[in-house]
Each structure stands twice: as structure tokens, then as C-alpha cells.
């Protein structure tokens, strides 16, 4: 009982520190937006605005309040699920983001669904056959893919599959999707481009974790007990690699967050990331802040989940 209490406290600690980090991030995001924001009222009204009009707009946007007060107001709003209104469209940000967020989650989710199983399988196989031809081919391929930026992969993919072969659409508009087939066609290119990078990273880290376990004394001892190869990998090495693998998956998926921005722009995909890019262009600071917070929160959720998985998988932490 005390053991499970201990684990609960350990996990609670991780979650608390994630929440605290998120709080620090919110400070940073707000500070940065102060720095780069300039005067939104001026941006909206333009150079020729009269001082009275500017003052009036500032007051209505609470820009005349001191920064700490504005920060508090924004934070409390966020906590209540109300991130404020867009400076440009004047619409509530929540309503603008919600459908976009769903789209982005769909894109990221599909990518994860494709990349995680592929990566784990290839990574484990490469580790088992380390030093062999398969391992070397996978190694070279992953290094090659990791070193190419995703925008290049995406562009080349568009050139080949959309422009030259006409198999797939170059833009991923969701408007005319009405069948699974259409859905697959629309998503094929962005998901593939995104998956390339994450898969490559995950394969490398998974291979390293499994290799580590496979060269350990306990695997040698198990081999000398006559344990067959499959059981050696699945029963002995893999349980020890769960923690590192969970971390690898979390890190790769969080790299996905950065990739999403590029991919959504290239394929003109109506996701949250493109919303952010547009918002930066129009200096729509409340919108930028909110999207930044969403990205940070997703990152922290991924990393904390990996931490918790590692804790739960490790008997040394479970049974102190």
C-alpha cells in the first residue's frame, strides 16, 4: 500500500511540475508578445489614426492597463476556457480555434497512428539484427531522412505525386472530402511528409534502447538459460526498453508539433498551426498567445505521459 502511495506521489509530482512549467511558459509567452506586439491599436488603425481614436481603441482592448494586470486577466480567461477575442476579426478566439484544432489533431493523430507502429517495428528489428544488412540499410535511410528538412520532403513529394503523376491532390483542403477514399487521398501527402521525420527519429532511439538492453548481462544470462531469441527480445529486452522508448515516442511526437506548422502551410491545410502563422502576420497577439499555449501544453502532456509510463513500467520505482 505504501508502495502505491509512493508511486502516486511520484506521479503527482511530475504532473505538478508540468503544470508549473506551463505557468512559466505562459509568463514567457506573454512577455514575448509584449516585446514583439508593438501597438496593436496602431497596427489596426494605421498610421493616420487620430490620437483620440487610438486611445479609445486601446481602452476598449484593455491595452491601457499595466502589463501585470493584463497578464492576470488573460491567464484567468485562459483558465476559464475564454482566451479572449481576436484583434483582427473581433471574434472570440475559442470559436476560431476549435475547428482548426480538431483538424490539426486529426493530422497529428493520423501521423502518429502511421509512424509509431512502423517505427517501433523497424527499430526493434534493426536492434535484433544489429550489424547486419537490414540494420545498415535502415540506419542509412534514417540518417538520410533525418537530415532532410520536412519542407523539402513535402515539396519533393508534391512535385512527384501531385504535379508529375497526378495521383494525389497538392493541396489538402477538407471541403470536398466525403468518403474514406477521399480522406486518404487528401491526407496521404501531408501525413507521409510528417511521418518521415518522426519515424526516422523514433527508429534511431528505439534501436538504441533495445540494443542497450540486448547487450546487457541479464540478456546474456537469459541466453545461457536457453531462452529462444523471440522471447529474449520480447520478454527480456523490451520490458527494459519501455521507458526509453516511451521517451523517444514522446520526443518524436513533440517534434511533430513543429513539423505540423510547416506542413500545414505547404499544403494549405486548415489547421491550428496555419492559423498561428496567419496571426503572426497580422499581429493578432491574443490569437498567437493562445496557439503558443496550446502547443506548449501538448508538448508537456506528451513528455509527462512518457515520464509516467516510465515510472509505471519500472519495478524499482513501483516497489521502493
Amino acid at each position: 500500500m505504501t508502495a502505491s502511495l509512493w508511486v502516486t506521489r511520484l506521479i503527482a509530482g511530475r504532473i505538478a511540475s508540468a503544470v508549473f512549467t506551463l505557468f512559466l511558459v505562459s509568463l514567457a509567452v506573454f512577455a514575448v508578445s509584449l516585446l514583439m506586439g508593438g501597438d496593436a491599436a496602431e497596427a489596426i488603425l494605421g498610421q493616420s489614426a487620430t490620437p483620440e481614436a487610438l486611445a479609445g481603441l486601446r481602452a476598449s482592448m484593455h491595452l491601457d492597463q499595466p502589463a501585470p494586470q493584463r497578464y492576470l486577466g488573460w491567464l484567468i480567461g485562459l483558465l476559464h476556457g475564454d482566451p479572449g477575442t481576436s484583434l483582427v476579426t473581433g471574434r472570440p478566439i475559442g470559436g476560431m480555434i476549435a475547428p482548426r484544432l480538431a483538424n490539426s489533431l486529426l493530422l497529428a493523430g493520423l501521423t502518429a497512428l502511421v509512424s509509431v507502429p512502423v517505427a517501433l517495428t523497424l527499430g526493434i528489428l534493426a536492434a535484433v539484427k544489429r550489424g547486419g544488412t537490414f540494420d545498415r540499410v535502415v540506419g542509412i535511410a534514417t540518417i538520410g531522412i533525418v537530415s532532410v528538412p520536412e519542407f523539402l520532403i513535402a515539396t519533393v513529394a508534391v512535385l512527384i505525386f501531385a504535379v508529375t503523376l497526378h495521383w494525389l491532390p497538392a493541396l489538402s483542403s477538407l471541403r470536398d472530402v466525403d468518403s474514406i477514399y477521399e480522406l486518404l487521398r487528401v491526407f496521404a501527402l501531408p501525413v507521409m511528409s510528417l511521418a518521415c521525420v518522426t519515424v526516422a527519429q523514433m527508429i534511431r532511439m528505439t534501436r538504441a534502447a533495445v540494443c542497450d538492453a540486448l547487450t546487457s548481462s541479464y540478456v546474456e544470462a537469459a541466453r545461457l538459460k536457453g531462452v529462444p531469441p523471440r522471447r529474449l527480445v520480447l520478454g527480456h529486452a523490451l520490458p527494459n526498453a519501455i521507458g526509453p522508448i516511451a521517451n523517444a515516442v514522446a520526443l518524436s511526437l513533440s517534434a511533430l508539433l513543429g513539423g505540423v506548422i510547416v506542413i500545414e502551410v505547404i499544403f494549405n491545410y486548415p489547421g491550428v498551426a496555419r492559423l498561428m502563422v496567419d496571426a503572426v502576420a497580422t499581429r493578432d497577439m491574443p490569437l498567437v498567445q493562445t496557439v503558443a499555449m496550446i502547443f506548449s501544453a501538448s508538448y508537456l502532456v506528451l513528455v509527462t505521459t512518457a515520464d509516467i509510463v516510465a515510472i509505471l513500467a519500472n519495478p524499482r520505482l513501483r516497489h521502493q
Binding site: 541479464y218 544470462a221 545461457l224 538459460k225 536457453g226 529462444p228 527480456h236 519500472n314 516497489h319
Partner: protein, 597 residues
């Protein structure tokens, strides 16, 4: 009788950097059924490599290149990997040196112990578990019915080693290979494990190959001994013959190194001038990890009120098992670990507790020689440079004078001066430890802290390093704090001996007084646990684990040794910290009267 195990003309080669070097050559061996054969040798003698060949296994980078290997009628050298798999764990089983590393940390012990029986399809799970519990009992493991439900990190090293033996024996294999199974254990644990092994091997009539570097341990368990060096057999024969009438020169050297050392001649030192402060004085040192509680004691207390003095040119031996706090003691003196309470005086002047706050002169006077020369020497720096740097730092020597002094230091530690241009990787273990010593001596210290400086070395080499330490002391008049787990070594080199247990001082005695007169029960246990180079010693030595009824653990204030003490008095010992009994040449922390000890 027919041989159960037969090796003839065994050759094993290591493939490294494209080249192939032979590491084991022309091994011819036989083991008869029911016999225990010991393979003895230093590191690099090929003993483990040969033992693993009996499983048809060569470590990565090695290859069995020739010869015949036959175990229980199976020609192992002709088998492919799949056939070998059906043999390993069923016909030949293996007990590794470090069970702590050989058990998978993620799986329960029972699951791993019964795995050989399950993968070979010999029993169903229930039958295997029942059999495992029986073996746990035979190996004198505590809680035999529940110990299997635990994870490896939840049991002690000595217990894991016995659990590993249970894992090997679960399939009733024809041959069991014990690969240095007690080397990583404390002496008092080693004896407990050895007894358990010997009992099951005898009761089950197991045929075994026992790999070890420790002749005294082997003497307890082997019927025959095979002495190896550099991958070839030097001599083999009945245990008695090798132990008492070794024919080969190398066997004689091994037996010589294993025999108890003759204590060094006491070195006459001028009596201290009246009022002269001791070289080093520690008073009531409390040290540990974690924050301090209300009484100023750390949460995890590693050293608890330790006091000692070392006079100029004298040697204090500090002895204790793993976890006794002996290394922390050296680190406190060296300034690498700040004490929470107490003080350290050098020549009567308090030393700063952190190394960063010490003057260059204080740094020079106290030098630490690390246990492991492999990690203490910078692998990318020529050893002459390593030894020269302190000369520049402490004494401002440069250029030709520095080179001359480096040469003198190498001469002092009996190394050829030409070695200065080598990298640590090109030296043997003993040479590296000498360089390590020379580096410490370069500062011209008053006090050398030697932390287990011989424990990573092979016995013959360790003896030579000990001799060197004795000579250096005579020539230079340095004082030593000699920290070790080996009471025989301490007795041979020290003037005074301090025994630590669980961070507390159990006894402080004149080294010559050890072995006679009253002693702390723990000191007695330690002395009784050192294997003698004599067959049958194991049976006659006192049982250090004579069960003491109802002795769980003591309170934080009680005697640290309470739970293992045969003389403990519940109601007193577990509640009150013992005061020191004082005799003229010893101090013993115990509640008993001197006469009872």
C-alpha cells in the same frame, strides 16, 4: 569412471581490429560426474572464457576456433545455435559473477528462476514453482515461500547469488558452471553463500566447474584444481596437491599470495614531542546525504560520530563492508564530502570542510589514491605528464627539473623511467596503480588516503603493491589511512585498525592485538569469515549466522550490529547506543563486559 565433461585441444580466439589473437590455447580438461573442478587464474587467464565454452558460448568478439567440447555425451563443438539452445540451461547451467546484473530488473525473481524449466518444457509452472521454493529452502534463503514474488532490487546481493544458483539447479543439469559467484560479495556474505553452495552441491551430487581467482575460496569447494595463466593450463591436480605441494612455479606464486601476510616490521618513529598535535584528528564526524533534521543529522546518515587520530608516519587501517561508510570517511578527510557535524584537524589546525576552501598547502599534505586506477588516470594523457602536473602545481617545477623528479618518482614506485611516454591504456593494472601512487606522492604529502587501492588487482600484483606501500612508508615517512574490506591486508600493513559497521565505529585497536584478547562481536565475525587456505575450513569456522531468535532490528539509537549479533541483549542493545569499553590497546563499543567478549 567416465568423464562427464571433456575438453581437448580447445582453442579460442579474439577478433579485434581485423586481427585475430589467440586467447585460449590447447586446453585439455576432464571433469568426472559428481566432481567439482576449479578453474583458477588471474584476470586475462581465460578462465571464464573456457567455462563459457562449455555452454558453446563465446562472448561477442570471441570465437571458438578448434578443439573438442563434450558434456554428458553431447558434442558441443559440433552443434549449431538452435541445438545449443536446447542444451543451455537444461544440460549445462550457468551462475554468473554478478547476479545483481544477471537478473532482469523488470521481472520478478520467480519468473526468472523457473524460466529454464519452462522454456525447455520440463515442467508446468506450478511444479516448477514448487521445486524453486524447495531449492530456496535448501539454499537457506530467508522467506523461501515469498522471496520469489519480489523484484531483484528488493533482495540483497548475497541472496541474489543464491537465487541464481536456484535458477541454475531448477532443471537438474548435468553440469553447473559457477563463474566467480562470490567475488562481488562482502566476506561475511561470501561465507554464507559458499556454505549454501557447498551444501546443495553435496546433497544433489552436482558436477560443477567453479571459476575463481581466490585460492582460499576454491580450497573450500573444489575436488580438483586447474591453474590457468595466459590462456593455457599451468598445472592441474587434486585440490590437496595444488594447495600443499604445488609443482609449477606459478602455482607456488599463487599459493604464496593467498597465504596470510606476515605483518610488516613495525617502523620505529621518534615518540611524539609532548604537546605535539597528531597529524590528523577527526572528532565526532557525522556525514551523510539529504537535508539535516532538527538535531543537525543528515536524513541518510553514512557516518555517525566517528573519531580517530593518525600520528605522523603511522598507518591507520579502516575496515568495513560495503555500506560501512569507509569511502565516505576518506572523502570527508579529502574535502570531497562535507561533514554535517564534527571537525577534521590537520596538525592541530582545523581543515576547511570543502576542498575549494582549502589552501594549496593543505591540499598538498593530504592526497587521495583512488581505488580504480583505470578511471583515475586521464586516458588521453601520457603518464609522465599525469605525474608531472602536481609537481608544477605544488612545487613550481618545470622543464628538466620536473622531468628528473618524474623519473625519480617512477623509480620510487619501481617503474622504469621509460614508461613516462606511455598512455594509461598501454599499461597493466598493477602498473596503472603504481602510476596512480606516484601521482599522489608527487605532491610530497604527509598523509596518503588509500581507498581500496589493491582490491581491483590480481592477488600476486596486489601483494607487490602492498610491499611497495610498506617500503614507501619506511623511505618517506608518510602516514596512511588504508581503507579496505580485507582484514588480512589491514593487519599486515597497519599500526592501528578501526572497524566500521553501518557508519559507526565498532572497534579501534592496535593491529597486533587483533586476533587475541577481547574483540567486538563484529570484528570476530569478520576475522572468522576470511577463508583459510585449507580444505575443510568452511565446516569448522563458526557459523556467523547462528539464528538469533526475535532479533529484528534496533532503533536508531541502538547498536548498529544488533540484528546480526550473537551476543545481543534485547532490551538494552537495540535501544541504547553502547559506550566504549577501554582496554590499554583497544576501544570496543559494546554493552557487554570486556570479559564476555
Amino acid at each position: 569412471m567416465t568423464a562427464l565433461v571433456r575438453l581437448s585441444g580447445l582453442q579460442i580466439a579474439a577478433c579485434k581490429d581485423g586481427g585475430v589473437t589467440s586467447i585460449v590455447r590447447d586446453i585439455d580438461l576432464c571433469v568426472e560426474a559428481g566432481e567439482v573442478l576449479a578453474l583458477i587464474g588471474e584476470s586475462g587467464s581465460g578462465k571464464t572464457t573456457i567455462a563459457l565454452a562449455l555452454l558453446g558460448y563465446a562472448r561477442p568478439g570471441c570465437r571458438i576456433t578448434g578443439g573438442e567440447i563434450e558434456v554428458a555425451g553431447h558434442r558441443i563443438d559440433r552443434m549449431d545455435e538452435a541445438a545449443l539452445r536446447t542444451l543451455r540451461g537444461r544440460v549445462v547451467a550457468y551462475v554468473a559473477q554478478s547476479a545483481a546484473a544477471a537478473f532482469n530488473p523488470m521481472l520478478t525473481i520467480m519468473r526468472q528462476v523457473i524460466e529454464p524449466a519452462l522454456v525447455h518444457g520440463l515442467m508446468d509452472r506450478a511444479a516448477a514453482e514448487t521445486k524453486a521454493r524447495g531449492l530456496f529452502r535448501a539454499l537457506a534463503l530467508p522467506d523461501p515461500d515469498t522471496v520469489g514474488d519480489r523484484y531483484p532490487h528488493q533482495v540483497s546481493g548475497g541472496q541474489l547469488q543464491r537465487l541464481m544458483a536456484a535458477m541454475a539447479l531448477i532443471t537438474d543439469p548435468a553440469l553447473v558452471i559457477f563463474d566467480e559467484p562470490t567475488t562481488a560479495l562482502d566476506v561475511t556474505t561470501q561465507i554464507e553463500v559458499l556454505k549454501a553452495f557447498k551444501t546443495v552441491v553435496r546433497d544433489l551430487g552436482t558436477t560443477a566447474v567453479y571459476v575463481s581467482h581466490d585460492l582460499a575460496v576454491v580450497a573450500q569447494i573444489a575436488d580438483r584444481i586447474c591453474v590457468l595463466r595466459g590462456g593455457t593450463v599451468q598445472e592441474q591436480g587434486k585440490a590437496d596437491q595444488i594447495l600443499h605441494a604445488p609443482a609449477h612455479a606459478y602455482s607456488r606464486a599463487l599459493v604464496g599470495a593467498a597465504a596470510p601476510r606476515v605483518p610488516a616490521e613495525p617502523i620505529a618513529m621518534p615518540p611524539p614531542a609532548p604537546g605535539e598535535a597528531p597529524l590528523l584528528e577527526l572528532r565526532d564526524i557525522v556525514a551523510g546525504y539529504g537535508g539535516l533534521d532538527a538535531n543537525g543529522r543528515p536524513k541518510a546518515c553514512i557516518l555517525d560520530k566517528v573519531s580517530l587520530t593518525i600520528r605522523r608516519g603511522r598507518t591507520l587501517g579502516v575496515i568495513g563492508e560495503s555500506g560501512s561508510g569507509k569511502s565516505t570517511l576518506a572523502r570527508v578527510v579529502a574535502g570531497l564530502h562535507s561533514a554535517a557535524q564534527g571537525y577534521v584537524n590537520l596538525n592541530g589546525v582545523p581543515l576547511a570542510s570543502r576542498i575549494a576552501d582549502r589552501s594549496r598547502e593543505d591540499l598538498r599534505r593530504v592526497q587521495l589514491v583512488f581505488q580504480n586506477a583505470d578511471t583515475a588516470l586521464n586516458p588521453a594523457m601520457r603518464v609522465g605528464q599525469t605525474v608531472g602536473r602536481p609537481l608544477t602545481f605544488f612545487h613550481g617545477l618545470r622543464g628538466r627539473t620536473r622531468a628528473a623528479e618524474v623519473a625519480r618518482l617512477f623509480d620510487l614506485v619501481r617503474l622504469p623511467a621509460a614508461i613516462a611516454d606511455r598512455l594509461p591504456g598501454e599499461l597493466s593494472g598493477g602498473q596503472k596503480q603504481r602510476v596512480n601512487l606516484a601521482r599522489a606522492l608527487a605532491a610530497r604529502p604527509d598523509l596518503l588516503l588509500c581507498d581500496e587501492v589493491t582490491s581491483a588487482l590480481d592477488p600476486v600484483v596486489a601483494e607487490a603493491v602492498l610491499d611497495l606501500l610498506v617500503d614507501l612508508r619506511r623511505e618517506l615517512g608518510v602516514a596512511y589511512m588504508f581503507i579496505t574490506h580485507d582484514i588480512e591486508r589491514v593487519r599486515a600493513i597497519a599500526d592501528d585498525v578501526m572497524v566500521l559497521y553501518g557508519g559507526c565505529q565498532m572497534e579501534l585497536a592496535d593491529a597486533r592485538a587483533l586476533g587475541s584478547g577481547p574483540h567486538h562481536p563484529y570484528s570476530r565475525l569478520l576475522m572468522a569469515s576470511v577463508p583459510h587456505l585449507k580444505a575443510g575450513w568452511l565446516e569448522t569456522t563458526m557459523d556467523p549466522f547462528a539464528p538469533v531468535p526475535g532479533q529484528a532490528g534496533a532503533t536508531a539509537d541502538g547498536c548498529r550490529f544488533f540484528s546480526r549479533c550473537a551476543l545481543a541483549m534485547p532490551g538494552t542493545c537495540d535501544l541504547v547506543r553502547p559506550a566504549s569499553l577501554v582496554a590499554d590497546d583497544r576501544l570496543i563499543a559494546c554493552h557487554r563486559e570486556l570479559a564476555e567478549l
